[in-house]
């Protein structure tokens, strides 16, 4: 690797909505600059986790260094720093953007600006990034570049006269994008002489080398063998390996201000080298860390219990391993009289929760019961003590409570006009407070609501998607806590309270939720040889009750003409269902029942 002057480095990222073609564009840039040759090109190089590919979203970010000879004849180094594309990871996005001087704003020319894109553009603007608008998929028959340009100007306030018309898939506009990066994105400040400060924008755990840290050198120089200090975690390490990402790791001896690279330094867990932390030299420490570091704060909590109690230790090990690579994941042991031993886990959001659950089941082969997600409630007790409650079953009884506050979020939805009515109804039903509605260009509207987070972490996103036939997009961020008349709704199955089914609801909705919940449970819990009462209660007052009639017979009639295949299939299906049941007292409860409150 040749040494490159700071003035010829360009650091940029790509801001785009899911499916608007970010990964394809990244692939195309790597190919055009000769960083990856066509033969080695796997589709969508940047998304390396299977789960990401399946869902078409980027969860973990990566980076790539490209050498590019511009039309002016000079050689430039272009560092692409990728950003995750989901609302749960906005902190990670903000740190990636802080490592850049510019960003490509990629918008699908047939669709337009989406809520998530908008949120990330604002983050980029806050970080003073130069933003280059790119209209992608220009080759598609439905492309309406003029409308979309108008929309970007209207919503984002960006001048789009110079917007690049591109098709990453067809290779249209790629050279223009590369030239624009060189000419429009400012070079990093040359602060090579200052004490080392490098911003960590990603890290992952490698079982052989320890944590691999991705960073951008903001000031100074770092060399292989340097003893470094992480300013937030206060840990010190010696660099075993220093390198760049091209996009595969290539070792180098030195990196200076403006450059992007990675280190391996026998770091044991990503928790010790968190995104946003500042790397400095142990011997010549910087005075101040880089701004913007925040501790990961889980917003959504749920209980994870093994279906089979014997798997508890396996679950613990699996969580430990995942945590090595995911500093945002929190967990602590939880014991429930109904569920036995498990863990209370904290996540950044619903997607994060789903990803963890899925990895536990898929990669660690565990059968899990997940309880319905909860947010953190702030409870002020009569004696003035303030408690943070992330598990409804631990809510103090009413006589000890002064008030309960719950987290609120501001939700921005961008939707085609025709779905405004139904989305307003949805938000209203979820205790939303209407804040704003703006007509954008040609039938597109933004809706702004303030909603309790608890109402958003249920199936709000799915509902929004289904009500708008997939056209609406949303973004939310925490705006603080508000007091509400909340009550705890307990559920009793066969007379025993089942704490994982307890939920905190607004007093006015308690009756409805209780009724719907017991009806749903009646549907989900199989019949037993005895009658099973199911009740919902607030304190000692029963607000809803149903019962599952006893099973009076369960017998296969005849096997006609010796054809046993159908009867056998039926038994196999029943047996499979039985494996996924959790015994609560004498009642076998299926997995779905614990999430029933989300499906009312």
């Amino acid at each position: 690797m040749t040494d490159v002057p700071v003035s010829r480095i360009r650091n940029f990222s790509i801001i785009a909505h899911i499916d608007h073609g970010k990964s394809t564009l990244a692939d195309r840039l790597l190919q055009t600059t000769g960083t990856v040759n066509a033969r080695d090109m796997k589709e969508q190089f940047l998304d390396s986790m299977d789960l990401e590919r399946e869902r078409g979203i980027t969860i973990k970010l990566q980076a790539a260094r490209m050498n590019y000879t511009a039309r002016d004849g000079e050689q430039y180094v272009l560092n692409l720093i990728d950003t995750p594309g989901h609302v749960d990871f906005s902190y990670e996005v903000s740190r990636s953007l802080a490592a850049c001087e510019g960003a490509l704003l990629v918008v699908d020319a047939s669709q337009g600006v989406e809520a998530q894109t908008l949120a990330n553009v604002y983050l980029a603007l806050e970080n003073n990034l130069e933003i280059i608008p790119v209209l992608n998929k220009i080759d598609l028959p439905g492309a309406e570049p003029e409308r979309v340009k108008g929309e970007i100007e209207e919503i984002v306030g960006l001048d789009c006269s110079g917007a690049i018309l591109a098709s990453a898939k067809e290779g249209i506009g790629i050279d223009e994008i590369l030239e624009s990066i060189v000419y429009l994105v400012p070079p990093p400040a040359d602060t090579t002489q200052e004490p080392l400060r490098a911003l960590i924008f990603d890290s992952y755990y490698d079982p052989y080398r320890g944590v691999i840290v991705y960073f951008r050198v903001m000031d100074g120089t770092v060399k292989k063998g340097d003893r470094i200090k992480l300013m937030a975690s206060r840990k010190e390490y010696e660099i075993d390996e220093l390198g760049i990402l091209s996009p595969n790791q290539i070792q180098v001896n030195e990196l200076h201000a403006g450059e992007v690279g990675y280190i391996a330094a026998a770091i044991k867990s990503v928790e010790d080298a968190r995104v946003g932390d500042t790397i400095t030299l142990a011997a010549a420490q910087a005075k101040e860390p880089l701004p913007g570091y925040t501790e990961a704060k889980p917003m959504v909590f749920c209980g994870l219990f093994p279906t089979d109690a014997d798997q508890f230790e396996d679950l613990r090990e699996a969580l430990e391993k995942l945590r090595l690579n995911d500093a945002a994941l929190q967990y602590e042991p939880e014991t429930s009289s109904a569920m036995g031993f498990g863990f209370r886990c904290g996540f950044l959001g619903l997607l994060h929760m789903e990803i963890v659950q899925e990895r536990l089941e898929r990669e660690y082969d565990l059968d899990l019961i997940t309880t319905a997600p909860s947010v953190i409630y702030r409870v002020t007790k009569i004696d003035g003590e303030i408690l943070e409650i992330d598990n409804p079953s631990t809510l103090p009884d009413p006589q000890y409570r002064e008030k309960i506050e719950e987290p609120y979020v501001k939700v921005d939805i961008i939707t085609p006009e025709e779905y405004v009515g139904t989305l307003m109804e949805l938000s209203q039903n979820r205790r939303g407070q209407f804040k704003d509605m703006k007509y954008l260009t040609q039938g597109r509207t933004t809706l702004t609501y303030e909603l309790p987070l608890a109402e958003v972490v249920t199936d709000f996103f799915d509902q929004m998607k289904s009500r708008s036939r997939g056209y609406a997009s949303m973004e939310y961020h925490l705006i603080g806590y508000r007091e509400n008349p909340l009550v705890k709704l307990d559920v009793m199955i066969n007379g025993d309270p089942v704490d994982p089914l307890a939920t905190i609801v607004h007093r006015d909705k308690a009756y409805y939720v209780g009724k719907a919940l017991v009806e749903k449970l009646k549907e989900l819990i199989p019949r037993h040889q005895f009658k099973i009462p199911i009740q919902a209660a607030i304190g000692s007052r029963i607000v809803a009750s149903e019962s599952i009639p006893a099973l009076r017979k369960d017998v296969l009639a005849k096997c006609y003409g010796g054809d046993i295949s159908r009867k056998k299939k039926l038994l196999q299906k029943q047996a499979k269902g039985k494996k996924r049941l959790k015994a609560i007292g004498t009642v076998d409860v299926p997995q779905e029942a614990f999430m029933a409150v989300l499906k009312l």
Binding site: A557, G561, L571
Partner: protein, 405 residues
């Protein structure tokens, strides 16, 4: 020393592996009963011209299939003509099929040859004819002795037809016969059921099959009704009907030898026992299932597909293209079928099909049901109790399936 399960070879006995039974499916009915989803062609009432031709086609295909099937060196002990309505076949047609079977496999002299017949589809001379070509057991599709219920099921016959049919059966000297009854029909009350049971006890057949109505999705009933909901009796009532039948029929001298079957001593259906004992059997005809050489195979359920299949089957020299049932699956089959019998399963024989670890696992799984009184273990036998164990047999089987698969 650690015992390895591979030390135990699972083998089923030669006797069980060589088919000595044959099922023949006769896929015609005059009309479709509202609860039926069997593979049948509906002939309507013009029985003569069209149906003769159709029956002839089927008989031809059946004979081709039989003749193409590889033979074993054991004569057949049981043959069962099911349907559909086998009594829509002429005596000559039935004889053609039996002759083909005898030529190909040879039929043992004292073999049980059963034929399903429906009231109002045959006369005395026809029945005499069936008997003369070898049929020695008939199963009469009575279903109910209540005129309203019969009509509600879409049956073509009346109670009067039933009594006439039984008179004819007795008149031709067919000493072994069975009646079918269905419980749990729309609007059927426990009192009506009791009357039906009294009625059949008066008729005093040597064998009875008593079925609880099963709602199959693609039937008239399946579309019209929901299980356990009015006008169908609820589960409580149908469970009561099952218990009542068990009580009344055993009091009348019947053995309740299988979940749905009752027989006077010496009159059990030997053919059906082959299924329940998980032994091999041939199957011929549209939609028929066979279990030969450890291959379970069901023939196409549609006429033209079946005809094409037979053509290919003949060309391929009777080779069946389907996987062998693995031994773990054979064990599940043995359990699922064996627990249908009152005598249950013999542990020693079960030991031939699996290893001691699995036997231990089975016993452990069954323990709670033993305590509950649904399962009885005496000596080397495991069986479900009657009627409670039978009524909840699926619960027991599901637990076994869960633990063994």
């Amino acid at each position: 020393m650690a015992l390895s399960p591979t030390n135990f070879t699972s083998h089923s006995s030669i006797a069980a592996a060589t088919p000595t039974a044959a099922y023949v499916h006769i896929p015609f009915c005059r009309r479709r009963c509202f609860y039926c989803d069997f593979p049948v062609s509906i002939l309507g009432d013009h029985r003569e011209a069209i149906s003769r031709a159709q029956c002839a086609n089927i008989v031809e295909a059946l004979c081709a299939e039989i003749t193409a099937t590889p033979r074993f060196n054991q004569p057949l002990q049981t043959i069962f003509f099911g349907g559909g309505t086998p009594s829509l076949l002429s005596v000559h047609q039935l004889e053609q099929v039996l002759t083909a079977i005898d030529r190909q496999f040879s039929i043992a002299t004292n073999a049980e040859i059963s034929l399903e017949i429906d009231p109002d589809t045959f006369d005395r001379s026809q029945l005499q004819g069936y008997k003369s070509v070898g049929v020695n057991r008939v199963s009469l599709g009575v279903q109910s002795l209540d005129d309203n219920l019969l009509r509600a099921c879409g049956r073509t016959h009346t109670p009067e037809d039933v009594y006439q049919a039984i008179e004819m059966i007795r008149a031709v000297g067919m000493s072994s016969f069975s009646l079918d009854l269905i419980s749990g029909l729309p609007n059927q009350s426990i009192e009506q059921w009791e009357t039906s049971l009294k009625g059949v006890i008066t008729i005093d057949p040597p064998h009875l099959s008593v079925y609880d109505l099963v709602l199959e999705p693609v039937t008239a009933f399946g579309r019209q009704y929901r299980p356990g909901e009015s006008p169908l009796p609820d589960d409580e009532t149908t469970a009561q009907m099952y218990r009542l039948a068990q009580q009344m029929l055993t009091n009348a001298g019947y053995e309740h030898y299988e979940i749905c079957n009752y027989a006077k001593p010496g009159y059990q259906c030997l053919h059906n026992r082959v299924y329940w004992e998980n032994r091999s059997y041939f199957g011929f005809g549209m939609g028929a299932a066979s279990y030969v050489n450890q291959q379970r195979f069901t023939r196409p359920r549609k006429r033209n597909e079946y005809f094409n299949w037979v053509k290919n089957y003949v060309v391929n020299g009777g080779a069946i293209d389907c996987p062998i049932t693995p031994s773990e699956e054979q064990l599940l089959d043995t359990l699922m079928l064996g627990f249908r019998l009152a005598e249950g399963l013999n542990l020693e024989r079960l030991g031939d099909r699996t290893d001691p670890f699995t036997i231990t696992k089975i016993l452990k799984t069954l323990q709670p049901y033993e305590q509950q009184g649904w399962l009885i273990r005496d000596q080397d036998c495991l069986r479900l109790s009657d009627p409670e164990g039978f009524l909840f047999s699926n619960v027991v089987l599901t637990a076994l399936f869960e633990k063994l698969s």
